[in-house]
């Protein structure tokens, strides 16, 4: 099977030199030494599709309003191609997805429901979400059974004094390569929870740009995957007094590889930034792997930034304690795994969504 994706075709179109350079020199499908894509192994075929299970998340549809971007007008983001608003390297995913796909926009202010549901695997376009009203909105983005080798982008523009909660279910995908970009204006708040399970080969990029007194929480959960599951985050604090908190938890088994690579960038004027990054992995066997790579780039002096990562195994002595009380080891392990990931599920503030997410995750835990 030919794995190198043919981006040359779109390259021949009328695009700038900048874009051409990225497509050519920064193409992780061809060149596997690019730092930001170091562990993603995009140039490889990982494992067979037949491993995937069929997970039922239909209940989610019942507790939320189904939305579609197709009724909205497509927006022209092609002009954004040359505009990279983040420090350091442009994302290959962003550039290639903007070239390859049209972009549809959804203005969340026009939808008068609290819980919104969108299945992005059914949509070929990139999606651009806008939110400027004070409504409380929980946006559930599902990506399920995707086989798409081409990156797709999801943009969030969050206006001043606005809150948005996003729950991302990335489940049972053979291949899925997503770029999330969140632009938070002053005093806005984004809570983003990404559940990833039963996937073969995935990469999620989380780019976020924070202005004055913003708050960005990013929680990731990675369980029961089979191949390479790669998460990359880049959070830039551009103005004073914003905070970001990232917590990723992974349970890795069956020879899977889970990666977390995250960067916090603090601009020289972004005093009083509070950045926190934590990645914890539980390895259940000796053939699985977890890679963690935190990076801090700080140019202001009055900031609080910390990061950490742990890789551990289930504690045999804890399992013994359960068993000594009559609880069999299978049950003990399940309880300990649930304890390990509870923090991520509990970060969902809406009770119904939290309960339902909990049920889904429980069914995905083995």
């Amino acid at each position: 099977m030919e794995l190198t994706l043919n981006f040359d075709k779109i390259q021949s179109d009328n695009v700038s030199k900048y874009v051409k350079t990225i497509l050519d020199k920064k193409n992780p499908y061809k060149n596997f030494k690019i730092e930001n894509y170091k562990y993603a192994q995009l140039h490889r075929d990982i494992r067979s599709e037949t491993l995937l299970r069929d997970i039922d998340i239909s209940e989610l549809l019942k507790i939320s309003k189904n939305i579609s971007p197709l009724s909205s007008n497509p927006v022209d983001l092609a002009s954004n191609l040359n505009q990279w608003k983040y420090k350091n390297d442009d994302s290959f995913f962003r550039v290639s997805s903007l070239l390859k796909r049209d972009t549809s926009s959804i203005n969340l202010d026009f939808i008068d429901y609290k819980n919104l549901f969108l299945d992005i695997s059914q949509i070929n376009n990139n999606i651009h979400f806008l939110k400027s009203s004070k409504n409380e909105t929980n946006l559930i983005i599902m990506n399920n059974k995707s086989k798409d080798e081409y990156p797709k982008s999801i943009f969030f523009d969050i206006s001043n004094n606005t809150n948005l909660n996003v729950i991302h279910f990335n489940i049972s995908n053979y291949k899925s390569f997503l770029y999330f970009e969140s632009n938070l204006q002053d005093n806005s708040h984004l809570n983003f929870v990404s559940f990833q399970s039963d996937n073969i080969h995935t990469r999620n990029e989380f780019y976020a740009s924070l202005n004055l007194e913003c708050n960005f929480d990013l929680f990731g959960l990675n369980i029961n995957n089979y191949g390479v599951n790669d998460n990359y985050s880049f959070i830039q604090h551009l103005k004073p007094s914003s905070s970001s908190r990232e917590i990723f938890k992974s349970i890795v088994e069956k020879g899977a590889i889970t990666n977390f690579q995250g960067k916090i960038y603090v601009d020289s004027i972004a005093q009083k930034t509070d950045g926190y990054q934590m990645s914890r992995s539980l390895l259940l066997d000796d053939i699985s792997k977890a890679n963690n790579k935190p990076e801090l780039e700080i140019y202001a002096d009055d900031v609080k930034c910390s990061h950490g990562s742990t890789v551990s195994k289930l504690d045999e002595d804890q399992i013994y304690y359960f068993k000594s009380r009559g609880i069999d080891s299978e049950m003990a392990k399940k309880i300990l795994k649930k304890a390990f990931i509870a923090e991520i599920i509990d970060s969902i503030k809406d009770d119904n969504l939290c309960d339902y997410s909990n049920k889904i995750i429980e069914s995905l835990l083995t």
Partner: protein, 248 residues
């Protein structure tokens, strides 16, 4: 109830228990006393079935079954309980949830239906109050940020809720102040009946003022060197381990 014959145990090639014999009948309370390092905790772990201990020789019969054939959870569900000298901390697992799971595991093993939430809450409240445990504490993670005394009380709460046939208490008294010691002892005494047996491991005679044993055994270097009734504990208090072991 429990019959240990000529038990030899080693860990990592090191011999710890060296020919231990002990027989405990239904309804009896036995105290096992001995200096640090004499093998008391090792014996308790072997009885509960913790792995990594090598049984080099001997037999252990429990309720007409070969105890060594049973896995740790089976032993527990067959009514064997060990209150640990150093209870484990389990972050992320609520104490009350742990208790409920333990009780229902046992009921399932015995072919009984699960205890419903209300029934469980009642039982937990009752038992916690008996032990002067604040039920608020049971909402916290199991043993996490519990004081030494709270951990020991927690073990006794588990014991009283699971009402075992054979309970082994490994230095439950250490780390308890005099009030807690009395409360814990009452909890144990409440469970005493002619159906249940106890093996109370302790370093000091103090606990035995509250839990009066039928028999006292002194262990030194992996074997029982002297057995007697309660007066042996008093004699030990007076003379110390060294002299008693010598005279044995």
């Amino acid at each position: 109830m429990l019959e240990i014959k000529n038990l030899h145990v080693s860990i990592e090639e090191k011999k710890i228990i060296k020919g231990l014999n002990l027989s405990i009948n239904k309804g009896e309370v036995h105290a096992l006393m001995g200096p640090n390092g004499s093998g008391k905790s090792t014996l308790s772990y072997v009885l509960s079935g913790k792995d990594k201990y090598e049984i080099d020789d001997g037999t252990i019969e429990y309720n007409e079954k070969n105890l060594l054939d049973l896995d740790v959870d089976e032993r527990a569900n067959e009514g064997l309980f060990l209150a640990f000298q150093y209870p484990m901390e389990i972050p992320g697992v609520q104490t009350s949830f742990f208790l409920k799971t333990a009780i229902n595991s046992k009921r399932k093993y015995l072919g009984q239906s699960e205890m419903d939430a209300l029934e469980f809450a009642k039982l937990m409240k009752l038992k916690a109050e008996e032990l002067n445990i604040n039920t608020e504490m049971l909402k916290r993670d199991l043993n996490v940020n519990y004081s030494g005394g709270e951990k020991k009380k927690q073990e006794i709460l588990q014991m009283s809720m699971l009402s075992p046939k054979m309970a082994i208490l490994d230095e439950t008294d250490s780390g308890l102040d005099i009030d807690a010691l009395r409360i814990v002892s009452e909890g144990v005494n409440k469970l005493r009946s002619n159906e249940n047996s106890f093996l109370v491991i302790t370093h000091y005679q103090r606990l035995l003022n509250y839990i009066k044993p039928d028999f006292v055994h002194i262990i030194a270097d992996g074997r029982i060197v002297k057995s007697g009734d309660y007066s042996l504990a008093l004699e030990l208090e007076e003379k110390g381990y060294e002299e008693i072991s010598k005279s044995a």
